[in-house]
């Protein structure tokens, strides 16, 4: 069918909005819980179908479709518009978003089955709002709408991280995520406004045209792009803003899969990809992007090696992969980063959902309290393994080609430093992921022994679920119900399909065709590095030929530092407590005693003067008229004499 892709995208965009409004406004329906969830899932299905159709309708065409409505009328031309911009990139991204959103919503039906109806309704309301905001971000034709949706997804992230708000950690993590990303958003806003000042428009298409015709003033552009990059860094958890993402794992696991792995955190990458022609004008900023990306990737990978919490490992791996994408963009090959974004979205969602299934069954996040799960939960183990292999970049699996592309991009971009770092990260990635696999799914089981004490002493990591469930027991361990399994299998199949297709035939998307020629030794060495990592993990955690303790002591200082998260959080706390609070005290003192003092003095004078002057006010209208008459007289006299 040859329907206009713009209309289809619009339908896709508005369905979750409709769902949100229905659930938000019709409170009794929302409080029913399950029916509300089914309604939301229905809308998400529709949105996904519309997104697929939009993608098909867009097809090979690279001509963007625009649907614009005037929002803020200005002089001559409208100041701001809202609408949708549909082109190959946004349709693919839209498809990813709607797909993961749909799968996560289906998955949550099983994952949150213990949730009371009221909470479930609230959860799906947030989910719908998030889907709408994310799609609005993806489709937005101008930076203003993009920023609004950007803030909306931030809000949804806050709401969903803090979904179990009675839990203090969750509430804290929500606030932390909100403030940390907000820090970057301020930069983003400044960047948009500065850009508007120099270019006079928010519209991406117009900006692109200006860049192509070289009419965009270059002066100060570096500051603008850097500011925009700040926003992207906040959202995409780049160093030093990465601290919020691991903490955000306090939210329900499906939320982590959707928001903090597949979609929202990649918004920064998406933004830079969208505006890559703008960044291309400022190579210095690109260099920063690349180095920060590579450094973030390394830092997060090291951190991931020492984590025992399965979700935190995944979170750090997300940060690390985001660093990959950013580095690719920094090297000037944003398409490679975008490609990795797509594949990563698939297999990272898969990993999170798989982890969620494990947590759901075992009742803890701690991998040292798992083990031997492969026999009890074979399907989960297989899909998790598929995800892990994808992440490690093994051929025939999802992340293989995209990772190669990024490494190739680094090389072709003439950045040997980051390239080396990323190679190291590839090794580390394979190592820490397989550490999780071997500890959790193979080896001796620690589940039965630990479960009683677990329930008694440790606070439940996943809120109500553990409370309400009878303590997980090894005999109860089994693969998750169909509603959770179906998304897992779908994602696994997709990851496999992408991997096989890209390994045998080449890039999936025509737009991602290799823009650079990678040297021949790249592929073998990258895969080799990953395999070495896997082997090391196997030897250490499966065969125990290498003692984990001795491995740890070999990297003693680094391990200590990593356990302390490299003191980044402490640095934030230090800045907050010492610098900000001290400054605030100084300002407070000045305000209280100097500013207020002057004001008090002035107000005291005013009061006295008012007391003295009020006797003039007789309250008699005639006296006032008399005064006015005298005033008019004086005025006329003055006019006559001057």
């Amino acid at each position: 069918m040859r329907t206009d892709p713009g209309t289809l995208a619009l339908v896709s965009l508005l369905l979750p909005l409709a769902s949100f409004f229905v659930l938000a406004i019709v409170a009794p329906f929302r409080r029913l819980g399950r029916p509300a969830a089914y309604f939301s899932v229905l809308c998400a299905t529709g949105a996904f179908a519309a997104a697929v159709m939009a993608w098909l309708a867009q097809g090979e065409s690279t001509i963007p479709t625009l649907h614009l409505w005037e929002w803020l009328p200005g002089q001559g031309k409208s100041l701001a518009t809202v609408g949708v911009l549909v082109d190959p990139d946004s349709t693919v991204m839209l498809m990813l978003v709607t797909l993961v959103a749909l799968l996560v919503q289906v998955y949550s039906l099983g994952y949150l089955h213990e949730e009371p109806p009221k909470g479930l309704g609230r959860y799906y309301t947030y989910q719908s709002l998030f889907a709408f905001s994310m799609m609005g971000l993806v489709l937005s034709p101008n930076l203003l709408q993009l920023f609004m949706c950007w803030e909306l997804v931030g809000l949804c992230s806050y709401l969903l991280i803090g979904f179990w708000y009675p839990k203090p950690e969750a509430a804290r993590a929500a606030v932390k995520a909100f403030w940390t990303t907000k820090l970057g958003d301020v930069g983003f806003l400044i960047g948009i406004v500065l850009l508007w000042r120099s270019a006079g428009t928010f519209d991406l298409t117009e900006l692109h045209a200006m860049v192509q015709s070289s009419t965009l003033p270059l002066a100060g552009l570096s500051i603008i792009t850097f500011c925009i990059y700040l926003g992207a860094a906040g959202k995409s958890a780049q160093f030093p803003f990465h601290v919020w993402l691991p903490d955000a794992m306090e939210g329900p696991t499906p939320v982590s899969a959707l928001i903090h792995a597949a979609t929202m955190v990649t918004a920064g990458v998406y933004l830079l990809h969208r505006t890559s022609w703008l960044f291309a004008l400022t190579p210095d900023v690109l260099l920063i992007v690349a180095w920060v990306g590579a450094f973030t990737a390394l830092l997060a990978a090291v951190l991931a090696c020492v984590q025992d919490d399965i979700k935190r490992v995944l979170a750090y791996s997300t940060v690390s992969q985001l660093g990959y994408m950013m580095a690719a963009i920094g090297a000037g090959f944003s398409a490679a980063g975008f490609f990795h974004l797509l594949t990563h979205g698939l297999f990272k969602a898969l990993l999170f959902l798989g982890a969620g299934a494990v947590i759901h069954a075992v009742g803890t996040n701690d991998i040292s309290k798992m083990g031997g799960l492969a026999r009890k939960m074979p399907i989960t183990a297989i899909v998790f393994l598929i995800g892990t292999l994808s992440l490690a970049g093994i051929p025939f699996f999802g992340g293989y080609l995209s990772k190669e592309e990024i490494l190739g991009a680094m090389w072709a971009g003439g950045l040997p430093g980051p390239f080396a770092v990323l190679m190291l990260v590839a090794f580390l990635t394979a190592f820490y992921m397989f550490r999780v696999v071997f500890l959790a799914f193979y080896g001796p089981s620690h589940v039965a022994a630990s479960h009683g004490e677990l329930v008694m002493t440790t606070p439940p990591d996943e809120g109500k679920i553990v409370h309400d469930q009878p303590g997980p027991h090894s005999s109860h361990l089994h693969d998750p119900p169909a509603s959770m399994l179906l998304p897992l299998l779908t994602l696994a199949a997709l990851a496999m399909f992408v991997g096989i297709y890209s390994t045998l035939i080449g890039p999936l998307l025509p737009a991602e065709a290799a823009e650079h020629a990678a040297p021949g030794w790249l592929t073998p060495s990258a895969v080799g590095v990953a395999v070495v990592g896997i082997l090391l993990a196997w030897l250490t955690y499966q065969r125990r030929t290498i003692n984990p303790e001795s491995l740890a002591s070999a990297f003693g200082p680094i391990r200590t530092a990593a356990l302390a998260k490299f003191w980044v959080d402490d640095a934030f706390i230090f800045v907050y407590e010492r610098v900000l609070l001290t400054f605030a005290r100084v300002v407070g003192w000045t305000d209280r005693y100097i500013v207020d003092g002057v004001l008090n003095m002035v107000s005291a004078w005013t009061l006295t003067a008012g007391d003295d002057l009020r006797t003039i006010q007789t309250g008699k209208a005639q006296d006032y008229v008399y005064g006015v008459a005298v005033g008019v007289l004086a005025l006329i006299l003055w006019m006559k004499l001057s």
């Binding site: 008399y626 008459a629 005298v630 007289l633 006559k640």
Partner: protein, 164 residues
């Protein structure tokens, strides 16, 4: 002197005298009657200015309406007080000084300006012209006037309603 000038000066004299009587008369009722005379004289001035319609409106609304309302007010308040309201002035010297100075300034200003002496030709039927511009160019103020009248009506009813 033309007949028009004679009429004008006669009317002016009447107007000034009656206006002075309005502000100086000791008896409030007499002041109101003098005001009626002044308003009627103003209608005459309007006639001299070829504004027959305005003259008629002036008589109808002012001399009829305003005087009636004022008379009402006097009677109503007088009954409440139970004695004739005498009306005195205060601050006469100051008031006279200010008003006199203002008058002198105004008159000198008017006299030293070159002002029109010829009347331009206007449409034959001024009533029609007024009516047409009220419903075209000034239709918005006209509508607002209707709203104002309604508000004034409601306000007057509210204020003057019997005490509960």
């Amino acid at each position: 002197m033309t007949g028009e000038a004679v009429a004008f000066y006669a009317l002016s004299a009447m107007l000034v005298v009656s206006a002075l009587a309005v502000v100086l008369s000791k008896n409030l009722f007499h002041a109101v009657l003098w005001l009626a005379l002044a308003l009627t004289g103003t209608a005459g001035i309007f006639l001299l200015l070829d504004a027959e319609f305005l003259a008629a409106v002036q008589l109808l609304l002012y001399a009829g309406g305003v005087v009636t309302i004022v008379v009402f007010a006097i009677v109503v308040t007088e009954r409440l007080v139970g004695e004739t309201i005498t009306q005195t002035n205060r601050r006469i010297a100051g008031g006279a000084l200010v008003c006199g100075a203002l008058l002198w300034l105004l008159i000198t200003t008017v006299l030293e300006r070159p002002l029109a002496t010829e009347r331009p030709i206007m449409p034959d039927d001024l009533t029609k012209a007024i009516g047409e511009s009220v419903l075209t160019r000034f239709v918005l103020p006209f509508e607002l006037l209707a709203v104002l009248m309604l508000a004034a009506l409601l306000g007057a009813i509210y204020f003057a309603r019997p005490e509960e």
